[in-house]
């Protein structure tokens, strides 16, 4: 008899949804979390009078009550939807290249295309053409990949077969000669961590389409409210959690999970583990790599660890409007060249792509009265940060943050003079709190070869399952939350025969 039916390692998004689903299915579940608070990236911290949102910018997959998206459906099934207070964000995003372009799109196909056609009348036809392709692709993708049409064929779904693995840049090139429209329409490449030339149209199209159809959302209390709610429901369903208690080891014998050893040395027997830790951590630190089949290690050795972030968390002593902030989601770019911006993410040079989010625009109660919260994010790989001598780290971090403030100040010049609190997180901060190699927030890079078309999700160890960005789901809130639920369903099916 095992101590628990399932041990879930890590209370990130995927860990939480899998733990909850498993507990609700009547299994005995122990959730281990090395930190003192649930959520992983989905968390908050307090400085002065501000509670800073760590990671959530635009929640995807929610949809409206009358037209629910997949995430709303899942949260509903898990019984937590009524405990959360979601806030619909007014716009899709604003893109600004100071001196060159400034466009704000609504999360609505008609309105967005109208804005673009008004701004770029000579390219009106191209805009329509691009959106037609986007929607056609996504419709066909639903039939083939989601609904699994048994009669799927190239003839029936030509757009899906032609465009799935094409690079996003190639598709832009089919439509647009100038860089403006790709810069505006392609901005969500940064949510996937690869530039348009390296990002498949399949991944990109579904992201843009889903944000438009299901709208971007946030929630009261930020992502910590979601994490706390999932954990509370898990406890209500009879689950057990241990905080400040990471897993030290996953015991494996004869190719199957036999238990978990905690960082405090407690041995827990179980035949099933959901790892919400990084894939590499799971198979090199938690499990003795010699016990992992060589082919699986080899496959993992072909991957590259994905991007992390530098984030500035700023508490301002004024209303958003006082510094000119009118949109929640502002992409502020030094220039339109996404490829160049991506190259900079592997250096410590001034970042050229930033996302500035002001949560108070859509939720005036987010910060105390008369104040607002702004976060500025740039994609950043960990490698150059790992090479900094520890004594130089603080100054390097601050110098980098200073460059980010310089860039966003080109759009909001008074920002700096209203800073009441500021903190800076780097790839090393993410590494510290998530325990992931490279501080990677989206798991492995999602090149074409790393997409679910080519990767095997099944673990070679019997009884081991994965949840979170490293499981092959890709990064971001919706994918990680849903990956945990999926893993749990698989387990329930396995255990119930």
């Amino acid at each position: 008899m095992s101590d628990y039916d399932v041990v879930v390692v890590g209370a990130g998004n995927g860990g939480l949804t899998s733990a909850l689903r498993l507990a609700k299915s009547g299994l005995s579940v122990l959730l281990l979390e090395r930190h003192n608070v649930p959520g992983g990236c989905a968390t908050s911290f307090i400085r002065g009078r501000f509670e800073f949102e760590v990671a959530l910018h635009q929640l995807s997959g929610m949809g409206l009550e009358e037209f629910p998206g997949p995430l709303r459906g899942m949260l509903n099934e898990l019984g937590v939807i009524d405990k959360l207070d979601f806030v619909q964000m007014g716009n899709l995003y604003r893109v600004v290249v100071p001196g060159s372009l400034d466009v704000c799109l609504k999360a609505d196909r008609m309105a967005a295309t109208a804005t673009l056609k008004e701004k770029y009348p000579d390219q009106a036809e191209k805009v329509d053409g691009f959106f037609n392709l986007l929607y056609e692709y996504c419709t066909q993708w639903i039939s083939v990949a989601m609904m699994r049409d048994p009669e799927a064929s190239r003839e029936k779904y030509p757009t899906y077969f032609k465009y799935n693995l094409k690079s996003t840049q190639d598709v832009f090139d089919e439509f647009f000669k100038d860089p403006q429209l790709p810069a505006i329409l392609g901005i969500y490449w940064s949510y996937m961590g690869l530039p348009p030339s390296q990002l498949t149209f399949g991944l990109f199209a579904v992201t843009l389409w889903a944000y438009i159809e299901f709208k971007p959302w946030h929630l009261k209390g930020g992502s910590q409210a979601l994490s706390n709610t999932l954990l509370d429901a898990f406890l209500d369903a009879g689950g057990e959690v241990r905080f400040n208690c990471g897993a030290q080891k996953i015991n494996v014998a004869a190719g199957a999970v036999t238990g978990v050893v905690t960082e405090h040395g407690d041995e827990i027997s179980t035949k099933c583990v959901v790892s919400n830790a990084a894939a590499t951590t799971t198979y090199t630190d938690l499990i003795d790599p010699d016990l992992v089949p060589e082919q699986y290690m080899r496959e993992m050795g072909t991957r590259t660890v994905g991007t992390s972030f530098v984030t500035l968390f700023m508490g301002l002593d004024c209303e958003p409007g006082d510094v000119g902030i009118e949109q929640a989601t502002n992409f502020i770019l030094a220039d339109m060249d996404a490829e160049r911006a991506y190259k900079k993410t592997k250096t410590l040079e001034a970042p050229e792509y930033t996302l500035l989010t002001c949560y108070d625009v859509d939720d005036p109660e987010f910060s105390p009265e008369g104040a607002c919260q702004v976060s500025v994010v740039a994609l950043a790989y960990a490698d150059p940060w790992m090479a900094i001598p520890p004594t130089q780290y603080f100054d390097t971090k601050m110098a980098y943050a200073d460059k980010m403030i310089e860039l966003v100040s080109r759009v909001f010049p008074d920002l700096r003079s209203h800073i009441e609190e500021i903190d800076v997180a780097t790839p090393l901060t993410h590494m510290r709190y998530l325990g992931h190699p490279g501080g990677a927030a989206y798991g492995f890079d999602q090149h074409a070869k790393d997409t679910s078309l080519f990767t095997k999700r099944k673990s070679p160890i019997k009884g081991l399952f994965h949840a979170g960005a490293w499981s092959g789901s890709g990064g971001g809130f919706q994918p990680t939350l849903m990956s945990g639920d999926q893993a749990a369903r698989k387990i329930v099916r396995t255990i119930n025969g």
Binding site: N36, L165, K166, D232, D317, T391, K449
Partner: protein
């Protein structure tokens, strides 16, 4: 036809299969990355420091500096102004206290920790009376938010210190002076008597050599014949000493009573919140005097606290729950012991506690009944999960 077969017909599929085959042939062995994350983080933020006292120096009649060296051959870098939480065992009770580092962040051979005797201080008395060079301790690595931030603090700094609140400032002064930074520091330092002034000579010596540093000591209970500044650190005094307050950053660190007073005085000068930095300070000396404390509970009231699945203990209303836990032998994670860092975050299953103003609880932690035991006072019988 199954899904996999179908997908092989996607344009470009076979090219990628070939790419994968080549990559697998020359794949990286991820085994080499074993332990890398922990190693990287341990250079910056090791979880625990193993320390030894190398020297003890007497600063004043009531204050000593303890020089701490590493037993692991490495002390991580810190920002001038940060603290370590020192774990101690006093009379069989394992507890901890945060102390600011007073030495310069430019050298990492040691951390100096300067401790003044607190009236009835459980830990300070132990450190001052019972600890000797050679004794060993553990602590957290340096933490805290009370440090210079180059992104918005500017170059004109006014340090307002009271008593032992000088310790983080000593580190900041050493940092600026040692690096010859272009920052102007005006230190206003309040003490009860001139004998209490810590680091008087050390700072004075630096003011004579560095024109960007000045110190004004203010004595509240001057002895006969004292001819320096006397009284409290009032708005008038700050105004007179600091000059034009525009663009200056005010840092405040001192005992509880001084905060209430000085922050009120800064308010009179219309200094915006964003230009004031306040170091956290531990539990109030008398929680029952805090705004919001219920009338029907007195400090001496004792409540039963059920530690789910572990034990039942007694806890006094007038004392932080964490202290009662420690006295009963239950040590939970702690760092700031001021309600700020959230390391001790604990689930309250039933009952009611009092958190003084300024305890930094997340909104949704409030909703779901989490408390920070280092600054939570029991008002009823409780059940918690630790």
């Amino acid at each position: 036809m199954n899904k996999e077969n179908i997908n092989t017909q996607i344009d470009g599929y076979s090219d990628i299969q070939q790419e994968i085959a080549v990559l697998e042939k020359y794949a990286l062995d991820r085994g080499v990355e074993r332990g890398q994350v922990k190693q990287t983080i341990d250079w910056l933020h090791p979880k625990t420091l193993n320390l030894r006292i190398s020297e003890i120096r007497e600063e004043t009649d009531s204050t000593k500096t303890f020089r701490l060296v590493s037993r692991d051959k490495y002390l991580p870098p810190f920002q001038a102004g940060q603290y370590i939480n020192l774990f101690v065992e006093v009379d069989g009770v394992r507890t901890s206290r945060p102390y600011s580092i007073s030495s310069s962040p430019l050298q990492l051979g040691y951390y100096d920790m300067t401790v003044r005797r607190v009236d009835d201080g459980f830990v300070s008395s132990y450190l001052l009376d019972a600890v000797n060079a050679g004794d060993t301790f553990q602590s957290t690595s340096p933490a805290g938010q009370f440090y210079y931030n180059p992104l918005f603090h500017g170059n004109d700094l006014v340090f307002i210190a009271g008593g032992s609140g000088i310790t983080p400032f000593m580190s900041m002064i050493r940092d600026v002076v040692d690096r010859d930074l272009d920052r102007r520091i005006k230190l206003i330092y309040g003490n009860r008597s001139s004998n209490d002034i810590i680091f008087n000579k050390r700072i004075e010596k630096r003011t004579t050599r560095h024109s960007n540093l000045s110190m004004h000591t203010v004595i509240s209970e001057p002895e006969a014949g004292y001819d320096g500044l006397t009284g409290f650190i009032t708005a008038e005094l700050i105004d007179e000493l600091a000059g034009d307050v525009n663009g200056k950053m005010f840092y405040v660190c001192g005992p509880e009573a001084m905060y209430t007073f000085v922050l009120g005085e800064l308010d009179k000068l219309n200094i915006p919140k964003r230009r004031v930095r306040v170091e956290v300070f531990g539990p109030p000396s008398d929680a029952t005097c805090q705004p919001g404390w219920p009338e029907d509970v007195s400090a001496a009231d004792s409540f039963q606290v059920k530690l789910k699945g572990k034990a039942d203990i007694q806890a006094r209303a007038g004392e932080p729950l964490m202290n009662s836990l420690e006295r009963a032998g239950f040590v939970i994670e702690a760092s700031c012991r001021s309600g700020e860092c959230s390391l001790c975050r604990t689930k309250l299953i039933s009952g009611k506690v009092f958190h003084p103003q300024g305890v930094k609880l997340r909104k949704s932690d409030r909703t779901y009944g989490y408390i920070h035991p280092c600054m939570a006072y029991p008002l009823t019988d409780l059940e918690i999960s630790i």
